[in-house]
Subunit: 207 residues, 2 copies
Amino acid sequence: MEYLKNPMGIEEKSFEIIGNEMGPHSFTEEELLIVKRTIHTTADFEYRDLVEISETAIETGKNLFKNGTMIYTDTNMALNGINKIALDKTNSKVICYVNEEIVHKEAREKNITRSMAAVEKACSDNVDIFVFGNAPTALFRLKELIKEGKANPKLIIAVPVGFVGAAESKENMDQLDIPYIRVKGRKGGSTVAAAIINALMYMVVER
Amino acid sequence: MEYLKNPMGIEEKSFEIIGNEMGPHSFTEEELLIVKRTIHTTADFEYRDLVEISETAIETGKNLFKNGTMIYTDTNMALNGINKIALDKTNSKVICYVNEEIVHKEAREKNITRSMAAVEKACSDNVDIFVFGNAPTALFRLKELIKEGKANPKLIIAVPVGFVGAAESKENMDQLDIPYIRVKGRKGGSTVAAAIINALMYMVVER
């Protein structure tokens, strides 16, 4: 059987199909790169209407990746989906503490989620970009820490998926005065989170 | 702000909401556990109509996990999403060769995808369950190897996502005479693949 076997060829063709089918929109060229990549990873055209990119988010993201940056992810799955070659080229790092014993202990003791305990730990490190694909509780906690003056992220990727708290956790992002990219409503996920970070990195490094 | 912080509580509540909103269906109780988990990980109710479970797939999966089994995944992201505690409890293992140097080399030399080269390697090992969340090329290759008598998987999870080859790779699964779970059309992905494996494991082990 004949089928396309070249990875870059497959991706190019996919983006062409997405462009042809996604219909009218008012995205800038760079915004479109992000939106298309979320559709590419889900095959779900609803993302065209769900992705919201704050005014300075792309510029901020590009500048961070140009200078090397530190990324927190709420799950190892999101961490895993981030392109490590591009990450190296941008001199950037990604951390996710959910499997660390100290985080497990904290979560058990406080009866909170592990990603919530992990976000607290990340805030004491030099993390610039906070990425949430799964854990509304972690995003809620980050927002609390920001309001308490204990966290000062430079960019937030707010795309938790789910039915309990996910949509709510992504509301009122514009009140934080921090650049963000979010997926409105219940949809999102680790693959979407990774896709957005990859899209930003691909704007500043050759692949 | 008040929000639900207990992980098991969040999952239970989510499944309740999914049950209430998913509308009429004709799934068995066990099929429903799989379908609900795909909706849980995507917040996309379309999966109700896209998931197809072959007649003996669940029984086969349960028996494999009862006796300890070997799983191949096409990406590290899918591997990462599989619950390692449940995996240990079922005495099972999961492998994904895409980051191994020998697989890189083979892919470069043959100008094929890494997951395609990885599936060839997996066929020479004792792999029972083949899981595809991303790479149609790998699923195409497995089907070729089956037809050539060079592979004999016991269960196939066929859920590659995408616009080039994904839908086609999942067609005619019923002609292989091997139990399978698939997502029809373009949708699917690593998170969906992991969700299906987790659903099967949770049928045979306490969490």
